[in-house]
C-alpha cells in the first residue's frame, strides 16, 4: 500500500514538499559538524595539511559510485515494472552523480599536484573515475538528445545496466594496466591505515555529502515530474488548438 502510494507521481510530489526543507536542514547541520571536525583534524605526518582534501575527495568518489548504483536500481524499475517514477529517478540522478564525479576528479588532481608534482597521473583510481565520468556524460547526452522521455528512459536504462556490469571490469582492467605500466613508486592516496582522528571527520563528511545527494536528488526528481507535466499539458494544448485536425 505504502509503496504504491509513493509510486504515484502526485503522491510523490505531496510527500516531497514537506520532506525537502527538513532534509535540507539536516544536511546543513551535518555539514556544519563535519566542517568543524575537518578543521580540527590533525595533519598527516607524511602529507601534511593536504590530507584535508581527502574529506571532500573520498565522499565525492563514494557518491559518484552511489549515483550509478542508484541509476542502475532505477533502470531495473524502468525495464521490469515500466514505472515512470523510476525514469524520473534515473534522469534526476545522472547530472548530480556526474557533478560529484567531477568534484572527485578535480580534488584528486589538486591533491596530486603537491603530492605527485603533477595535476594528473594515470593512477588506477583516478583513471577509473575518469571513465565513470565519461560514462555519466554519455548518459546525460543520451537524455538530452532524445525528445520522447519514455523512449530515452528505456535506452538509458539498458545503457546504465550494461555500464553497471562493465564498471567493475573496467576498474579491474585499469588496475591491472596500471600495475603493468607503473612501478609501485606512486604515493597511494589515503594509505592503508586511517587514524581515528581522521576517520571520524571523514565519516561525518561522507554522511553530509550523502544527505546532500539525497536532497538534491529529491528536488531534481520533483523538477522532472513538473517538467513532464508541462510537456503533457503542452501536447494537449497543441492537440486542442483549432486547425490541428482532431
Amino acid at each position: 500500500m505504502a509503496l504504491i502510494d509513493l509510486a504515484n507521481p502526485t503522491r510523490f510530489l505531496s510527500l516531497a514538499r514537506p520532506t525537502l526543507p527538513w532534509l535540507a536542514g539536516l544536511t546543513a547541520a551535518v555539514f556544519a559538524v563535519g566542517l568543524v571536525l575537518t578543521h580540527g583534524a590533525p595533519d598527516d605526518y607524511q602529507q601534511g595539511a593536504t590530507v584535508k582534501i581527502m574529506f571532500i575527495h573520498v565522499p565525492s568518489a563514494w557518491l559518484g559510485m552511489f549515483g550509478w548504483t542508484l541509476m542502475s536500481a532505477a533502470a531495473l524499475g524502468t525495464l521490469v515494472w515500466r514505472h515512470p517514477l523510476a525514469d524520473v529517478a534515473a534522469k534526476a540522478a545522472a547530472p548530480i552523480g556526474a557533478a560529484f564525479t567531477f568534484l572527485c576528479l578535480v580534488t584528486g588532481s589538486l591533491w596530486g599536484r603537491p603530492m605527485w608534482g603533477t595535476y594528473w597521473v594515470w593512477d588506477a583510481r583516478l583513471t577509473s573515475v575518469l571513465l565513470l565520468f565519461l560514462m555519466y556524460l554519455g548518459v546525460i547526452a543520451l537524455w538530452r538528445t532524445v525528445e520522447d522521455p519514455s523512449r530515452a528512459a528505456r535506452a538509458a536504462a539498458i545503457l546504465t545496466l550494461v555500464g553497471a556490469i562493465n564498471l567493475p571490469i573496467i576498474k579491474w582492467s585499469v588496475d591491472w594496466w596500471n600495475t603493468l605500466h607503473q612501478p609501485a613508486s606512486v604515493v597511494k592516496l589515503g594509505g592503508p591505515a586511517i587514524h581515528p582522528t581522521i576517520l571520524l571527520p571523514l565519516m561525518v563528511m561522507a554522511l553530509a555529502f550523502t544527505l546532500l545527494f539525497l536532497t538534491l536528488h529529491l528536488a531534481a526528481m520533483r523538477n522532472e515530474i513538473l517538467r513532464r507535466r508541462v510537456r503533457t499539458l503542452m501536447l494537449m494544448q497543441a492537440q486542442a488548438a483549432p486547425g490541428s485536425g482532431s
Binding site: 548530480i96 580534488t107 523538477n223 503542452m234
Partner: protein
Amino acid sequence: MNLFSSLGPHAAFIVAAYAVAALTVAGLIGWIWIDHRAQKRRLALLEMGGVTRRSDRAAGRPA
C-alpha cells in the same frame, strides 16, 4: 590570514579544492532551484490558459 597560514605550504591547493567543492555544490543547487522556478512558471501559465490534466478534471479540482 590565520586559516591560510595554518594549512602549511600547500594551502592554495587545499583552499582551491574546497572552493571548487563549494562552487560545484552551489551550481547544482542553483541549477535545481532555477529549474524549479521555470517549471512552476510554465505550469502556471499553461493552467491559466485553461489546459488541465485529465486526472485533475476527474478529481473535480479547479485548474
